[in-house]
Amino acid sequence: MTTSPDFLLALAAMAAASYACRLGGFAAMRFVRSTPRLEAALRAVPLSVMVGIVAPSLGNSGPAEWIGLAAVALAMRLSGNNDPLAAMIGVAAVATARALGL
């Protein structure tokens, strides 16, 4: 359990940079006058980001990941949009498919 002053200084800078990102957009929006157009744009952010997180796995993945995504879609439909449950079912499907060598 040791550290050095150099590391702690670097850590302080890194932590400040990380928190600045988390706070920055929120704080900046205080000075931006909100319009219906801007609100429509911000409302589109969550779906677009989710699509952006899923997209890379569509390209460079095998049958196990495809089965996982299908399991998520099916679980969402059957569970009435219980997303953590659907995600865990998707993970279980991927683990099973990989265990079977897919």
């Binding site: 928190y19 990102c21 929120f26 890379p56 949009n81």
Partner: protein, 233 residues
């Protein structure tokens, strides 16, 4: 246009903890992976846990490990963290309409715990008409605690632990994002922003993979909704 004040209650925190705990096993597994990597990179257990507690971002911490291993200069590492966490700027902006009316003493610490999973869960919570500001804090703690504890476990056990890929844990964030995308879908109005976001994400991923795809997709979807917005309606 004035908004009603946003409550910030213990019940909201508890609800966030309960909902967020579904992600905790996956977060714990990745905390363990970071702990192993930090140990291999020569960081002490204290340093590894401090990084997880204070930087609190997997991709940024990996970049920091690499940066500290290659040179004594802090500026490039800070720049890398700003870039890998740039998507949080967008997340925070999207939260403003809701958290802007929450008590700052609750909102600011909650933002410290802002992550991909709990942000998506909170946005969905808000869309469904539940506005308690405690949710983001509770769901954030459900990630923060396993992330830091997992880091410590990983550092203590070293590379003896099993491959998290075997348990499909690397698929957790993708599976959650896919589920969330289904939940955020608003019919025909979602088609254009989601389509542009998908095309942008695939292009950016092919060109420069990493933390950029989600940010680029978010910006592209927002720009599409901005351009298509009809002021008359």
């Amino acid at each position: 246009m004035s908004r009603p004040p946003v409550p910030f209650t213990a019940a909201g925190v508890a609800r966030g903890l309960a909902r967020g705990s579904a992600l905790s096993p996956g977060v714990l597994a990745y905390g363990v992976v970071f702990g192993v990597l930090a140990g291999e990179a020569g960081r002490s257990a204290l340093e590894a846990v401090l990084m997880s507690a204070l930087i609190h971002s997997g991709s940024a911490q990996l970049a920091a490990l690499q940066g500290m291993a290659t040179g004594p200069f802090v500026a490039p590492i800070v720049a890398t963290i700003l870039l890998t966490n740039a998507r949080y700027v967008l997340y925070g902006a999207a939260l403003r309409g809701w958290y802007g009316a929450a008590p700052p003493a609750g909102a600011w610490p909650s933002l410290f715990l802002l992550g991909d999973g709990n942000w998506a869960m909170a946005m969905k919570e808000h869309e469904q008409g539940r506005h308690d500001g405690g949710f983001l804090l509770g769901s954030g703690l459900a990630q923060f605690v396993p992330w830091t504890i997992g880091t410590w476990i990983g550092h203590a056990t070293g590379s003896a632990i099993a491959d998290p890929r075997r348990f499909g844990m690397d698929f957790m964030i993708v599976a959650l994002a896919a589920a969330m995308a289904t939940a955020f879908w608003r019919g025909r109005a979602s088609l254009a922003p989601a389509g542009v976001a998908l095309a942008t994400a695939l292009a950016v991923h092919a060109w420069m993979p990493g933390g950029w795809t989600a940010l680029a997709a978010g910006l592209a979807g927002a720009a599409t909704a901005w351009m298509l917005h009809d002021d008359e309606s």
